[in-house]
Amino acid sequence: MTSDITLPFYQALTTDVNALSACQAQDELQGIRREALERFAVLGLPTLKTEAWRYSNIQRYLKEFPYELLYATTTVPAATIAQTAIPELDSYRIVLVNGHLQADLSELPAGKGITIGALSAHTQAPGFTTWFNKQHHLAQESLATLNTALFADGLYIELAANTVIDKPVHIVHVYTTTQHAFIQPRHLWVLNRNAAATIIETSVHPDAGAVTFTNSVLETVVEENAELWHYNIQQGDQHFREVHTTAAQQQANSRYHHFNFTLPGTPFTRNNLSVALNGSNTETNLNGLYIANESQHVDNHTFMDHIMPNCNSNELYKGVLLDNANGVFTGRILVHREAQKTNAFQQNNNLLLGTKADINSQPQLEIYADDVKCSHGFTAGQFSEESMFYLRSRGIGEDAAKALMVNAFSHDITDAVKVPALQHYLQEQIAAIMNN
């Protein structure tokens, strides 16, 4: 079932009741979907006048092609997946094609306490009924409400209390469509008390002659004393556009380590990342590295919501902007009155290497508690000429010297990657980008 969205987007969606009923296979979600659609009608599609979107002209990208809402499942051959392997990485594998689980290519972890499957098949699961669509920031982001109203499917992960997955889980997202399509995957991952997991996401985009625009939403819940290492690697290509919303919730004593790597390829990427700290004594690390070239647009919109006292958050986003690339970083930190003894640090550093590259960076600190440590910082610069000359004077050519310097610039992010094979893979990718 498809719906033409060449009309002003939200008009088409809100007036077309078919669009809504088309994806209401799960009756129990009707109320949630309808409410979300009403919310979307109020918020509307972001424009350049929407504060959170003032540097990212999403409408321009939505109007580029006559996208159709796509719900249908499709499958890909094993060969498609073969090229997505990360060398030397010993992991489980989950393959999602346009948001739908393809079980025959997946290699799921088995064991007591591990539930993994299609979201649509788990709407009765306790993790779902407790947590689905509960992260309160989602209702503020119009594209997230659109996703809630009209998503087709996605991945459900729930780890029971004390469950630890012994190897990283590698999720391979495949996006491939034969007609220009707007796809809305929806995922929910719940780590119950004392559970732990490492999840790596990558994507692949076999060219089937059309452009894919995804509007995906991931909710993660890190329950009491649980720990999640989450690596999202965005490496798209010319026929891909992406809005990705990650909404995390942390309970007391939990640890959440989020890494987001955006590498060249996708013309338009917008990441919404928000973390709500619902319990005390938590640790949150948000690490981002974006390397953009040509006329790529990469927007990272982040929100640390310090609701409870004694929590620590550390955010470091670094950008390398080549050619005419465009970077946007927003780092909102909200410290509620009750959130005493908060430590919240934020840093955004950029290398502007293209003659027409630019970065818009804005920290937004709102602090209502009086006993906190918070800081933010921003830099934008070029390579030090002295360093470049030093490397070249040792016989290292300009390109190789730049590659070394970019690797050096990003090393505090890549060094923090705890999976050696992934760390190596990322370093190689960065070197390959710079040597191109």
Binding site: R392, S393, R394, G395, G397, A408, H411, D412
Partner: protein
Amino acid sequence: MLTIKNLHAEVEGKQILKGINLEIGKGETHAIMGPNGSGKSSLASVLAGRDNYTVTEGEVWFNGKNLLDLSPEDRAREGVFLAFQYPVEIPGVSNLNFLKTALNEIRTYKGLPAIEGRDFLKLTKEKQQLVDFNANLMNRSLNEGFSGGEKKRNEIFQLAMLDPQLAILDETDSGLDIDALRIVSNGVNKLRDAEKSFVVITHYQRLLEYIVPDFVHVLYNGRIIKTGTKELALELEERGYDWLKEELHLKEA
């Protein structure tokens, strides 16, 4: 090996080198001395290809090639090495990775295959011992947090690894205590042979007690005003530079 003819250069519109003539043969060690601001480090920078210097006149030939036509990296690949007065700290670039990249870039230029990992480590170990470079510094970021002496020793270690034909030491002795000076000089002396030439730029005669030069040149106001042997350095140490300046003024008058 190296021929400098009537070299003039300026930086930010200011004339710094005003007609340098110098001939350096294979296996020779030349010291260049002179008061502050005479143009010693500028000469080193021009030879290595630092791009804020503009050559306005003159020629530099290195093994039959016009050095001034080459990029800094190609000069290095042809065999010119500059030991920096102020080595740069580059956090995030490991010493080892940096050296391996440099070595392989030079090898590629010469049409040689990349060095095998095992051979590289063997070479590293050998040169480390030769110039007495602390192995613990190898895996650290390039010069980051190194003491002044460690940085200078790293320069000599790089010199040993890259094995150039011409090494220019730009005030390698500055800021070194006597023990560090001895270690650095010993390293240089072990690298001296019939094929390799050195240009030792220094403000003080002290270094030349350890690295004994074949020739000593005095640079003043952008020109070489006197050339002699190692005894000239001793004389400069005793009498300073003023007598030379006077001699020059008399000549010019």
